[in-house]
């Protein structure tokens, strides 16, 4: 019997494909955000707000990941922004290969690409797709303990949005506890408290994204 040292990550091919995707996105100068949350946390509603705010000033693409159907992509297309749908059929997350499959449908240079991952706090965290970073959404009815129960996503997310702040009077959720729990997984996470229903808290998020978009553009220029 022979022993072969392999020393390769199991997800090595996903990682390599993600790096190729990233290179393609970088060359287009696109800021790519991988949005991850549980079903019903408000991913689509948050994306709608961001799309409405930015659609007049920049080229925006939404990549919509769902197990089945086009419910969200139809909803988002009504805003007059470009939407590409990925149906994962059985998979509970997007991966780099599924993302690569829709690249030929991307015909122009987008400034911002928002990727709505499959609703799930577990699996999407482990699969890179070629994004600049992950953005996690936690909604107040889910409870302020979720960062501790799904630590990996909150550890890896650069940005965490606490959504549905308008429901705070009706649910058992403390912003302070939630933030502390997020910090216990990720002391550097940028945290925003918003309500996609009322629009509260979005101004700070827009300012942050504007800065990020400028940074990404500068990087692209320095490269070119």
């Amino acid at each position: 019997m022979k022993k072969i040292n392999v020393l390769k990550p199991v997800l090595v091919s996903n990682k390599q494909r993600a790096q190729e995707n990233r290179k393609i996105f970088d060359n287009m100068g696109s800021l790519v955000i991988n949005i991850i949350a549980s079903p019903g946390a408000g991913k689509t509603s948050v994306i709608e707000k961001i799309a409405r705010y930015f659609k007049k000033t920049l080229n925006l693409l939404i990549i919509e990941g769902d197990i089945r159907g086009q419910v969200d992509s139809k909803r988002l297309a009504k805003l007059g922004v470009d939407v590409v749908q990925i149906n994962t059929l059985t998979a509970c997350h997007l991966d780099a290969f599924m993302t690569a499959q829709v690249l030929p449908q991307i015909k122009k240079k987008y400034d911002l690409i928002l990727v709505e991952n499959v609703g799930n706090l577990v699996c999407p965290a482990e699969f890179e797709i070629g994004e600049d970073y992950k953005l996690a959404i936690l909604s107040t009815p889910e409870g302020d303990d979720k960062p501790l129960k799904y630590p990996l996503l909150f550890h890896l997310a650069r940005v965490v949005i606490i959504n549905k702040s308008d429901l705070l009077p009706f649910v058992d959720f403390s912003n302070e506890t939630a933030k502390n729990n997020i910090r216990r997984e990720n002391s550097k996470a940028k945290i925003f408290e918003v309500s996609a229903k009322t629009g509260d808290g979005f101004d700070d998020l827009y300012l942050f994204l504007e800065k990020e978009l400028n940074e990404k553009k500068k990087k692209g220029k320095n490269k070119g």
């Binding site: 040292n5 392999v6 199991v10 091919s13 509970c92 965290a125 482990e126 216990r184 997984e185």
Partner: protein, 113 residues
């Protein structure tokens, strides 16, 4: 559920490595799994039993080597091994933590003929 995809990736990787090293059969797969990953050895084993059929892994077992979560506090400099991934320094209570180990998920080696 994502263990299906990753077990498929595991079988593909092992088959490719066997091919490259001219092994026709794999008997053992040594897999390092960090405790700060989303991967559960039980589910991997479950899917593996199905996915290994008719491949070079058909007669293989996975030997799991779990890697503990080891952290370093960038504030007091101490290193600690923790059971749960709560990234707070057990010594000084600060949250400026670097994860040293626990995120591994790789095939260390395969054995076969």
């Amino acid at each position: 559920m994502h263990e299906f995809s990753i077990t498929k990736a595991l079988v593909d990787l092992c088959n490719a490595e066997a091919e490259k090293n001219k092994l026709s059969k794999i008997y053992k797969i040594h897999l390092k799994v960090g405790k700060f990953t989303g991967f559960s050895p039980d589910s991997i084993s479950f899917y593996f039993e199905h996915l290994k059929t008719d491949t070079k892994c058909q007669d293989a077992d996975i030997i799991f080597d779990e890697v503990p979560i080891r952290i370093k506090c960038t504030s007091c400099g101490n290193e600690n091994t923790i059971e749960e991934p709560i990234l707070v320094c057990p010594d000084c209570g600060k949250m400026s933590i670097e994860v040293i180990t626990g995120r591994e998920f790789f095939v260390a080696s395969i054995e076969g003929d």
